[in-house]
Structure formats: C-alpha cells, structure tokens
C-alpha cells in the first residue's frame, strides 16, 4: 500500500501537461466553459466540444478506458488519475460521454462485429454524435415501465413513442434507445436496445429550456420510425441487461474530483475578492468553515475514487460501490455551486441570458464582476446532477440492495 508516483508517472504527467498546453485552446472550446457560456451560439458550442475531442482522437488519447484493440490505451490507474487531474487543471472541455463512456463499452461487450466496426469508429472520429433515449414522461426512476414500442415489420422495427430529457439531442446524429419489444413477463423482460439514425423520417426533437435558461435537454417524438433489424444490439428483449451495464459505467468517472478541486480554488479566489464587514469574505469564520468542510469531503471522495479505480484495475468492478461516487460527487458539485452563489452576494441577481436561447430580457453588457457571471445559473443548473443518471435516491436503493443485501 502506497501513494507513490514513480519516475515514469512523473514523466507521464509532464508529457500530458505539455500536450495539453500545446494543443488545447480555450478559444476553440468555450462551449462548456461556464464563464463564456453566454457568448456562444449553439453551433459554436457543438464545434467547441468536438474540437478537443478530435484533437485527442488524433493523438490516440480519446478513450483510455476502452480495450486497446478497439482504440483504447492501457494506461494504469495512476496514469488515468494524472490525466484527469491535468485536464481539470487546464480546464479542458469535458468530453461528451454518450458515445465514449456509455455506448462504446456496451458495443464492445454486446455488439456484433459489424456494429463494433462502424459504431466505435464513428464515436472515436467524432463523426457520429450519440444521444441517449432512455427516460420517458411515464418512465423516470422506474425506467423499466417505458412504453416506446418497437414492432418488427419485415426487416425493420417500427418505433413509436416519446423520449424525454434527451441531453444534447439537438446535435445528435444517432440515438441509442430503449424500446419495448414485448409486453410479456416482467416489464424488464420486454425491453430491447436499438440504434436509431436521427435523420430517419418521423423523428421530431423539441427543446426543453431548463431553470438555468439553457437548452441542453430535449423531447424526442418518434412516429412510425423505421429502424433496420441489424441495428438491434444483443438479442431482442435483453435490453434491460444492457441498460444496467451502461448505467454502471456511467457512474464511474462521475465523481469529478479534479474538476471539483479546481472549482473550489475558484470559489476561494472569489471569497478572497468579495468583502464582508471590511474583510475578505474568506476570513469570515462562518463562510470559511463551509469551504473547509467541503474540501475535507472532497478529499475523502478523492481517495474513495482511487480505491475504486484500484479495484477496477484488478478486474473487480465497478461494483455497486460506484454509486457512492455518484452520490458524493454530485452532492459536492452542488455544494460548490451553492457556495459560489453565496460568495458573489448581490451580483448573483442579474440574469445572464445564454446567447443560444436569447429571446427576451438580456443584460448586455454584463452586470457585476466577471466571476459573478453565471454563478446563479450554474447553481440552478447543478440541481440536475442528483436527478440524472439514476437519481441519488435510486443510487441509495442500489447500494441497499446490492451491497447491504436489504
């Protein structure tokens, strides 16, 4: 047991750091960067996200967690940890997880050879943007009650239904979708996993504007959408197994430790610039205490994540324990956004309209200091994190059942 970095690890860190500083450009990547969020149009956002994706693809560093024969890299746990740290410190654009983290491992585990070929290639090159067709108006936490139906007609499935909360579907070329192919047995037994081309006639994507004013999620309506039978992943009616496998992968890496560290540093800078009774806010004992509590919590999560990664590298996991990472990771992210909102004080108030949805009540130029821009919107938006990816209550159910045996 040790926390040592080898000379090779240090060399790796230097190599990674140099690569990032030479190749990552803040200017091309403002899409996901909250400070610049309001200045970016929808199309620029997509380009910005893909810019870093494509840079990493060229370098071969896009999918470290995939098996090497499919374009992954055999980085050690320590190397992946270093990579995440360096990316967070440099503030690189977060990669879009739908292909890389969610669908990729599913195709590797359950897909046929043809699917492995075209799906994985499209994910890596960035030519195919995937979205996730899981939730429905009547199927949120109770995902297995989904009703979007796929009927086999000749060499096609005909899909009818309604998906919701589909993140960034407005950019998507493809959707991996859970559909009902049978109504017999338990609800879980009649679900299949289909790959649907978003350009197929009968698909209609409608934006949902969220409390932060942003357009990230959508409704997707499917009306008599024809999907070739070869787009079924695995066997018919085994979709639930795949769905659970995918959600398990979604939880790893969700802790976001390195990015939370960076966000806390920014919070401290803000608290240093804001004044309270003539002293920097950071010296206020009540506020300072909240920051310290958060830091200690994050420290514990960091080592919990490292323990999980270490287990994983020995082929044991990710188990249901990874639900801890989701719960604690999102609680911490939310808390940081909450304290950042508190820190900016009165200047939390001016509304910052994202350019991509600007239609009313804009405040330009911005009101208040740079660091207050978007603080409130970010706080509002972060509430989603304990709801998505299996709500934190569902995660607790998973631990209760799978770990505690209750």
């Amino acid at each position: 047991m040790d926390l040592d970095f080898t000379q090779a690890d240090h060399d790796f860190r230097m190599e990674v750091r140099e690569f990032i500083s030479n190749n990552f450009s803040q200017a091309n990547a403002s899409g996901q960067n909250i400070e610049k969020y309001h200045e970016v149009t929808s199309d620029q956002m997509k380009e910005g996200i893909l810019d870093w994706h494509k840079t990493l693809y060229k370098k071969g560093w896009l999918a470290p967690h995939w098996p090497t024969e499919h374009g992954g890299i055999d980085w050690s746990v320590t190397q992946r940890y270093i990579w995440d740290q360096e990316c967070a410190n440099a503030g690189t654009t977060p990669l879009i997880p739908f292909g890389l983290t969610m669908l990729g491992p599913v195709i590797i585990a359950f897909g046929n050879d043809r699917q492995k070929d075209w799906v994985l290639k499209g994910i890596l090159s960035g030519d195919d943007w995937w979205c996730q067709g899981y939730s429905e108006p009547g199927a949120g936490s109770d995902l297995a009650s989904l009703r979007t139906k796929a009927e086999k007609v000749g060499d096609h499935y005909v899909v009818n239904g309604h998906k919701v909360w589909t993140t960034l579907a407005q950019y998507a070329d493809w959707m991996f979708c859970l559909v009902r192919t049978s109504s017999e047995g338990k609800p879980q037994q009649g679900i299949s996993f289909l790959l649907i081309d978003m350009n197929t006639p009968g698909i209609d994507v409608k934006p949902i504007i969220t409390v932060d004013g942003g357009h990230e999620v959508n409704e997707v309506f499917l009306e008599d959408v024809k999907v070739p039978i070869e787009n079924l992943v695995g066997e018919e009616n085994m979709g639930w197994t795949i769905a659970k496998f995918l959600l398990g992968n979604e939880r790893t890496g969700i802790a976001g430790v390195a990015r939370s560290k960076k966000a806390i540093n920014k919070l401290k800078e803000i608290a240093n610039s804001e004044f309270n009774d003539g002293r920097p806010l950071i010296e206020d004992s009540s506020f300072n205490r909240k920051i310290s509590e958060l830091e200690v919590d994050l420290m514990a999560l960091e080592y919990t994540e490292l323990r999980t990664l270490a287990k994983e590298s020995k082929g044991e996991g990710p188990g249901a324990e990874s639900s801890i990472l989701k719960i604690k990771g999102t609680e911490i992210q939310q808390k940081i956004s909450e304290l950042t909102l508190e820190a900016v004080g009165n200047y939390a108030s001016p509304y910052l309209t994202p350019l991509s949805v600007r239609s009313y009540g804009s405040n330009y130029p911005e009101v208040g200091p740079d660091y207050s821009q978007g603080a409130a919107q970010n706080y509002f938006g972060m509430r989603k994190t304990s709801i998505y990816g299996g709500s934190n209550e569902i995660q607790r159910n998973i631990i209760a059942k799978m770990v505690l045996g209750l």
Binding site: L3, E293, G405
Partner: protein, 384 residues
C-alpha cells in the same frame, strides 16, 4: 499508487483476528472493564508474545520494523474488538516519541515496552488547554540552590497538573509535555520528559472512563528529573509533539473504522431480522437509506484512514492537512454511525447488555481524543 495489502500484512491481520476471537469475546471484555484493574495483564502479555508491541520499532531496537500501514491494521482490528488494553497510548504515542529519542533512551526503555513489561501514557492535556497541544502551564525549571544560583544544567523540577491522561492508572512511565521557557501557549519553549510514575512528588487520581478505559488526573509537585529524562532538545519539542499527535490520530482513525464496521454490520443484520408491521424493518426505504448513508460515511472514513496513514512521512503542511482532514471525517462519521446504530436498534440499542452502545461510547470518545471536528476543521483551514 497501490491500495492493496501484502501477504505479510494480511497474515498480521489474521493473527490479530484469531487472537481476539479466542480471547476477547464481548462478555470477556465486559468482565475486564468491570474489574478493579480495568484491563487484562494476561491479554497484554499475549499481545506482547504476538510481537504486536514491537510493530513500529526498528529491528535494532528489538522491534518488527513495520510502518504506519501495519500499525493501522492492528488499531483497526483492536477497534473491531473494542480492546481496552492501551496499545495506541503505549506503542503509537509514547513509542512514537521514544523511537526518536537518543540511543541511550531507546536502549533503556524500548525493550520494556516491547516485552510488555511496561505500559506508558502520554500526559499532555491541561484543564485550560482543551485541544491545544502548546497551551501548557506545567513547568520544568532548572534546579537552583537556596541562593538562587543554578546548580546543574540538566536537572529539572517539574510542577503542575495534567488532566484526563489516558491509560495512566496502568502506566509505569509517563511522557510529559512541560514548559521550560516561554509564555503559556507559545510553541517555543516546550520540552518532553520521561517521568517515572513512582517518583516522589507524582500523585494521581485514577478513574474509569465512559468508554470502558481508565485515565488519571496527574499532579506533579517538585518532581526532580535527571538528565536522562529529557527527550530531544530542551524547548524544541513542539514539532515532534505535532508529528506524534498526527501519528496517533492516524491510529485512532483506524480504531474508529474498525468500530464503525462492527456497528454497520450489526445494524444491517438487526434490520433484516427485527420484524414490525409484519415485515423486517430493513424493508422500509427510510431505514435502508439511513443505512446506506452510514455505509457511505464508513467508506469515506476508510479512504481517509488509508490516506492519512500513507501521508505521515510527507511535509508538515501535507501531513497536517491529511491528519486534520481525516480526523474531521472520522469525527463526523463516528457521530453519525454511532447515533444511528443506536436509533435503528431501537430500545435494544440503549441497553448495556448489547454491544452496540459500547461501540457508540468508544466512538464518541475517539471524537474528542486529540481534537474534535471543530478543532481539526480550523487546523485544516489554517494550512489549506
């Protein structure tokens, strides 16, 4: 980076597990803590025979030459067994000072600790000082003649009192922090002394503590200390005290996660068997989520315990951050798990008969030992 235990470490854990299974059932422990002695000398000898009293000492000093991870394993297993024999006090804390003492001092004292002949206690806390390790009124002044002339450079007279000195009733020797110069809370001017408990002028009031251990109020009245009693340099002991306090915290964290794991397992088991409203109460989601939160607190505490034990050799700032951060987590988790284990056991959790309350009490005392969550949160904040 590696979080796995070596074969040797696993063997060590197994040895302690079977020792506790054979000798330290809950009823045996109950009898021990109710006895006048308050601990078992027989157990202490067996712990010595297993070599455990030599874990952190170098081979040259007669020890096993193990590091913090092995100490952590011992403390965690002792935490599971709710062991009252003063392992951490003697081996980790006093041993921590002694293994950095002079060759002569090591040769004089360590064999007696390793063989189980002597128990040691660390007398640092004072009534006014709370958790501040440098708030010291106990004084050690150079001995002077009736004419006020200094007689000897290395003879000290110790005066003052120390409070709640854990394990002191069983100890033959004390390590005492005393002021040789400077103002009351100054970090400069603090020295460490080995004091024989039977020396003239040392008196104690011994008592049982709420967690089944024992402690003393210790009074020093003109206790003469010879030149061998000073550990390290006069007036320069504070950095060493902080280091050994952090090592002690690391061991206390390990003891705490041992105790927490027993409480969590017991609570889950109980909720699976206890029936109300026609079903096991563990079927109720409100209790399931409570137990998940207990489990998460435990896992986060395990992470912090590994972390601090692996960071004891780092720079002072990093070490302080690690130790204070870990202690905050362990204090919060001890409270949460202790309180909820009692709550979920209902009335049974309140009884002296069941082990749950005993673990709860030990965890509550670990919270205050070497500084509670508030103290360490402030300390963490001062270095981060």
């Amino acid at each position: 980076m590696d979080f796995s235990f070596s074969e040797e470490q696993t063997l060590l854990r197994n040895t302690i597990e079977s020792f506790l299974q054979d000798n330290y059932g809950f009823d045996v422990r109950k009898a021990i803590i109710k006895s006048e002695e308050g601990m078992s000398n027989k157990n202490w000898q067996q712990i010595a025979e297993l070599g455990l009293l030599g874990v952190p000492f170098s081979e040259a000093d007669g020890g096993l030459d193990f590091g913090p991870v092995e100490t952590m394993i011992v403390a965690e297993e002792f935490g599971k067994g709710l062991v009252v024999e003063p392992y951490i006090q003697t081996v980790v804390t006093c041993g921590g000072f002694l293994r950095r003492a002079s060759e002569e001092q090591r040769q004089e004292h360590l064999p007696k600790i390793i063989s189980g002949e002597e128990i040691w206690a660390f007398a640092y806390a004072e009534p006014q000082g709370r958790f501040n390790l440098s708030d010291i009124k106990v004084s050690a002044s150079k001995k002077s003649s009736s004419l006020g002339r200094i007689l000897s450079n290395d003879v000290y007279i110790l005066n003052g009192n120390k409070c709640v000195v854990s394990a002191a009733p069983w100890a033959q020797k004390l390590i005492v922090t005393a002021r040789t110069s400077g103002e009351q809370a100054e970090k400069e001017g603090i020295s460490l002394f080995v004091v024989d408990k039977s020396a003239p002028g040392v008196s104690t009031r011994d008592y049982k503590t709420v967690d089944g251990s024992m402690a003393s109020e210790v009074l020093f009245e003109n206790v003469t200390l010879n030149s061998n009693s000073l550990i390290g340099e006069e007036g320069k002991a504070y950095p060493l005290i902080e280091l050994v306090a952090d090592e002690t915290i690391a061991a206390l964290c390990a003891e705490a996660i041992g105790a927490m794991s027993v409480l969590n397992d017991a609570t889950v088991e109980y909720c699976k068997t206890r029936k109300q409203f026609g079903q096991p109460i563990g079927k109720f989601q409100v209790l399931q989520h409570r137990m998940v939160d207990m489990f998460m607190q435990y896992e986060q505490s395990v992470s912090m315990t590994y972390m601090v034990n692996l960071k004891l050799d780092e720079s002072e700032t990093e070490r302080t951050k690690a130790a204070s951060g870990a202690k905050v987590q362990i204090c919060n988790a001890s409270k949460f798990i202790g309180q909820n284990a009692v709550q979920l056991h209902g009335g049974m959790g309140m009884t002296d008969e069941l082990n749950v309350g005993h673990y709860f009490k030990r965890l509550a005392m670990i919270e205050t030992q070497f500084g509670n969550a508030d103290h360490h949160l402030k300390k963490y904040s001062s270095v981060s």
